[in-house]
Amino acid sequence: MNAAALGLTLRRSWRGFRAGWARWSAIVVLLTVGLGVVVGLITSATATLGGIDQGARAGQLADGTVITEIPLTSAQLSAAEEVGARIVPTPYVDVPGRSAGADTTVRAFRSDQAVSRPTLDAGELPGCSDEVMVEKLHAAAHRLRVGDSVIVDGRPLRISGIGSLPDYTLASPQLGQTSDPARFALMVVSGSTYDRLAASHPRAVVAAYGYVLEGATHEQLRKHLSQIVLEPDRASNPYVAQALAAARQAGVPLSYPAMSLFLPVDDNPRITGAITDARTTMLVTVVTTVLVMLLVAYVLAEFSRDRIVRDAVVIGTQSALGTSAGALLRFYLVLPLVVTTVGAVLGAVLGRALAPYLGIITDYYSFPAVPVEPSARLVAVAVAGPVALVALVHVVVLRAALDRPTQELLRPQVSGGPSLPLRLDFLPFLTTFRLRQALRSLGSYLLIVMGLFLCILLLVFGLGIRSAMDAYLARAGADLTFADTYTLRFPDLSAVPAGAHEAVAVPMRVLDDDGQPGTTLTVLGVPEDNPYFPVPPSTLGAYDLVLSRAAAHKYRLGVGDAITLRDSSRLNWSFRVVGVADYTATAFGFTTPAHARALVDPGVLVAAERMSAAGGGASRPYYNVLLSDQPLDLDPDRVLSHSTREEMLGGVVKFNVLLSRIVTLVTWSSMLIMVVVLYVLIRMVVARQRYSISLLKALGYSDRQVGRLYLDNYLWVVVGSVAVAVPVAVAIMSQVWRLMTVHLPIGIQFLVTPRDVALMAGLALASYAVVRLATSRDTRSVPVTEVLKVRE
């Protein structure tokens, strides 16, 4: 191409842009918003998974955690090594502290532990006895920085670093503590400081271990460790000796394993919680990306095709005069390529700017900070993809156009389409006219229906997740009517504390299809007077269960289905689901207290009853859970765990906060995208009829009549598409959402509210109104006399 030809091409392209600047700009906006969202979401989700991964790798995350009642002896450690597992001490001690003037509970770890090591965001690990590394969420809560100091067990320590711990199951706070990171602080101290803290708080030391599998399986190690039986006189908890004595007296075999917790890393809710949340946001990202890219590709392809098809006569003329296909292609490519590149680059820039705000998971979970930057590959694909698509569509469509005989190109194409199969002369002319018009423009209508459908899929996705989460949060909040839950290891059966309600909880493991024990489902025996849970009927059979809705969702079970559960002594129990109770907060299998007690280890039952009898009081039936709307004053040695309503809701709330930024972005951008897409598509198909519209006006049709003849059909297309697309999109998206949330421990049902539907319909109509206005304005602005000079 010589300079003159290039100049001409550029001038002609510039005129082309000016003539259709609104549509070209709309394409830029579509690309910018669409790619911005996609690049932002992918960058954020990748960074999140990268952060988790980095934390695990850099910190040499152990394969699992073991906590024992008393420290294991070195003989026991080497015995485990023979089974094929290395067990590394990762002990901790809870001591009082003060951070930025607020009282805290400090859980101190050794800086020299060999597995599940801390990773640093800033500074370094404590190098001497008066330094400390503070966990990042706690540091963030009090705005602590490297160089500040905190008080641990009465002594000020200088913060040498801020970071996170890859395994912080251990962070599960004990009785009366809170998991609020502002008040519960994970810190890492030097070996000598740890020894000093442990020496002054011997009862607060927890014998925790990380294990690394070197040949053994989790099950083999679990079996091996559970055979280490607690010798009563070595147990730190006085009730262990009492219980064993009581059982021996009754002649029932009872042994307490030295191990009080065995937790493979994949079962660790604090790790898997973050991973499942990250995975869910990644899935949201993937679904959004697929939908947005489909839409962008669809609109770009149709827009490119339309331009060439409409210019067929010009192309034919030029080609008849001897212009080469290559030269034609170059001319037709200039404008779309410039516009696409500008849109895509702006999109990448927007995505980069958005990414850090998209609910990066490390703001809520303690994982190492990672740079939130789009990778060079992502940017390259985001820019090159649309550009390549546009080029490809042009080559294909232009080739197809030029392959037709030039003769044919010179005459405008017949706008055919199927004709009406029957005579409709009895109908008013306008009606038949519009019907015929509709049949002839089927292609155009289909184009809009497709575009609108993709938009609605995207919108239904965003709005549906939003509504589902809102509804779930409201339900879960309403379901959790108790404030404190205590699980008791050594219940005092002589009485139930005032204000508390008892229940019998039996953690059992659900057998999967291969008969392998999987996740834990708690069977809960609920007494008739319990106000917090749905009470199963007293006529319930021993092998019947009423599932909570969360459990039904999680295990995809309904009334009549069977479920097999394994108890702690490896016995399998087969249950039939006889009902699903409207309880969404936690996965439970509800039964009567009597049936639940039958599942409890008989030794534990007898020991508990004997111990109360020895105390002299009247013995109540066995229970091991206390629920209350206020904290209870219990003997810490009797309690296994304590959780608060905030903690139980906390996971969901955290998930919601994470997801909500993403969902908000998806919703808003998809609304914008919908308006832009409809604008581009409707304007495009209306523009095909601009000549006819102007002509009818020359013949004496008023704007309103022309509108009715040509434009109002699109209103019905839009209304019809919304009416069909919304239910279809809801059906598709509920399945997608179900697949996306199977790994969540809760049942969140996809929900599209009437308000969402109204919003979508309103948006579609608003876009139509904008187009209608713009179209009638530009048919009005074209002088009729100019149209008359066109030999169409």
């Binding site: 005459r411 405008p412 194409q413 017949v414 706008s415 055919g416 004709s419 002319f429 306008l430 006219f433 015929r436 018009q437 002839r440 009829q689 000549y691 006819s692 002509l695 009818l696 006006k697 020359a698 013949l699 004496g700 049709y701 008023s702 002088p783 009729v784 006399t785 149209v787 008359l788 000079k789 066109v790 030999r791 169409e792």
Partner: protein
């Protein structure tokens, strides 16, 4: 021109001027054009290409607005009408045959006529017109499937179907052979006779002036001839 003709003038132009562009590129297309056409007369406007014929016709038809002067049709000032009034004016009074046919591409022949017929309460019979213009067997074709002459005939049928009292035709025979041109002129003649419509026809073919009651010649946007023809001939008797 007699007082009698002036009194019953159907179309009257008074000092009509039209220019396009501004400054350097300003073109005076019509310059102080004045004439009258009597009701029921056949007026032929001749002139070289670019002399402003189409511009003049468009102005009379209410498609374009002159920069100065008045155009009175039935005593109503077309130049003073609002866009809405212009639409109503075109609908009620004007039958237009455009120079480039300008058929609606996505309508068939019959529909192109129908869509215009629909504008008035009592249109002529469409099928009669189709037969008369030799388009009956082409009635279901789209404009792109017709020859130039067929398209022009369709355009004429479209202009006639409303039975308007003012027919404006811009080179209706421009692209047609002699035989077809003659047929076309006969059709116009018939319509004129039957419906007593006033016909204003633009042409560059001096021969056609033979059938006119009045001949107006434009040169560079000025009227250089405005004469009445006392003995107009029938279309079939024209010499080409």
């Amino acid at each position: 021109m007699t007082e009698d003709v002036l009194a019953s003038a159907h179309v009257r132009l008074e000092g009509v001027s039209r220019h396009f562009g501004a400054g350097e590129s300003l073109v005076e297309v019509l310059h102080d054009v004045s004439f009258s056409v009597a009701r029921g007369a056949r007026c032929v406007i001749v002139g070289a290409s670019g002399s402003g014929k189409s511009t003049l016709l468009n102005a009379i038809g209410g498609l374009d607005r002159p920069d100065a002067g008045r155009i009175l049709v039935d005593g109503q000032d077309v130049t003073a009408m609002s866009p809405k009034e212009l639409t109503r004016y075109r609908r009620r009074h004007i039958g237009f045959v455009f120079q480039f046919y300008n058929l609606v591409p996505d309508l068939t022949v019959r529909e192109n006529i129908q869509v215009t017929a629909h504008l008035v309460r009592r249109p002529l019979d469409i099928d009669d017109l189709l037969v008369h213009l030799g388009l009956y067997e082409h009635r279901n074709k789209f404009p792109a499937q017709l020859s130039g002459g067929q398209q022009q005939r369709c355009a004429i049928a479209r202009a006639l179907v409303k039975g308007s009292d003012l027919l404006l035709a811009d080179e209706p025979t421009g692209a047609l052979d002699r035989h077809t041109s003659q047929q076309m002129l006969e059709v116009l003649d018939d319509v004129h006779r039957i419906y007593r419509a006033t016909l204003v026809m633009v042409t560059h073919n001096e021969a056609i002036t033979g059938l006119a009651d009045q001949v107006i010649e434009l040169r560079d946007g000025r009227v250089v001839r405005d004469e009445l023809n006392p003995h107009p001939r029938a279309a079939r008797d024209l010499d080409w």
